[in-house]
Symmetry: C2
Subunit: 208 residues, 2 copies
């Protein structure tokens, strides 16, 4: 820790010179936050303009373009600045409660703002490999907790030993996400969706 800068450098940014007036980190943060705000408000990354970002951040376009060469780099940097939510604590009292809590965490820990941001990343990552990589990073982080949870209860014999933890997690989280975030199956958007999903997969749907 000899002379570390207080803020981590933005990866894809144009490097700042060492002499002269230093760049305002407050401005950098405000710009990245403004990008995420606007992405959350409007539908996608196509829908936001650099001028709007500057206005929201209280800076000028010049200040933005001094840091990032293109709009794509700017958005990528903003997405990169998103941190994964802190790992939530589970009481480990019962499989059912844990799974339900995990699913509800997907719904509550993720704010509506962040939810819309994730949705936009999903959309735009189609034709933006940089964004696609970022998406993978965010998704993998968020998926890990669920997979670990399944593993935990398999070890304790509460879940079948021959399960693929990832498939179980997918079977629970995917329906929840498509219903909650994408708005599919509107009839299923009830407050007890998490409970119903867990019960369904826990006991199975067959009669034998």
């Amino acid at each position: 820790m000899t002379s570390t800068s207080p803020e981590a450098e933005n990866s894809a940014a144009v490097p700042a010179p060492v002499v002269g007036r230093p760049r305002s980190t407050a401005a950098s943060n405000a710009i990245l936050a403004a990008v995420l705000d606007l992405v959350a408000e409007h539908g996608s990354m196509r829908a936001i303009t650099v001028e709007a970002v500057a206005a929201r951040a209280g800076t000028s376009k010049t200040t933005i373009y001094r840091r990032w060469a293109t709009k794509e780099e700017l958005v990528a940097a903003a997405v990169e600045s998103i941190k994964a939510p802190p790992a939530f604590e589970l009481p480990h009292e019962s499989v059912r409660d844990d799974l339900i809590r995990m699913l509800k965490a997907v719904r509550t820990d993720v704010s509506p703002r962040e939810r819309r941001i994730l949705r936009c990343i999903m959309i735009d990552s189609e034709d933006n490999p940089e964004l696609a990589a970022q998406q993978e990073r965010l998704m993998t982080e968020r998926r890990r907790a669920g997979i670990e949870l399944v593993r935990y209860w398999i070890e304790r014999g509460e879940l079948r030993a021959d399960l693929d933890p990832m498939l179980v997690a997918a079977g629970l989280v995917s329906p929840l996400l498509t219903i909650q975030i994408y708005g599919h199956y509107p009839h299923l958007r009830t407050p007890d969706l998490a409970e119903r999903l867990v019960d369904q997969i826990l006991t199975g749907i067959g009669t034998r």
Copy 2:
């Protein structure tokens, strides 16, 4: 059937006069097909241009704007022209086979072209209520078969009677779609995904 036109009128189109040279239905069809082609090739509706549609359809921009007032109307009409796939026949030999067949039909009956179109509709329906309505129409049609199937096997006592058929369908189709179409959980993209999903939900994951 006195003087019915051979083709159904396009709903939101500017009505064609009764005197003078009639509009070419071939051109109309070529235009709508071109829209869907281009939507499938490029990412979204924003990415396609009216000039490109005209070029692909072998017409001129004038011909397009004589039928639809704006690009939005054009896209909406093209989406409206999509027909639901024919209902597939199931052998009804066993629940397991039927469910697996149903899931595999999701993967095979929907061509890659149509898949991309559906994806784009999903994306653009965010800020286009007209498209959102069309999306609901297409999704509901496609979901019905799965829900009916669950109901069929409930009546025959092979599935639990207290199930919500829609929740079961969602629990099966959603993971498949997110994995197959959206590319999530890349480790799960195996040829036997349908079988594994069905087995997991059929027998349940719990040990008691």
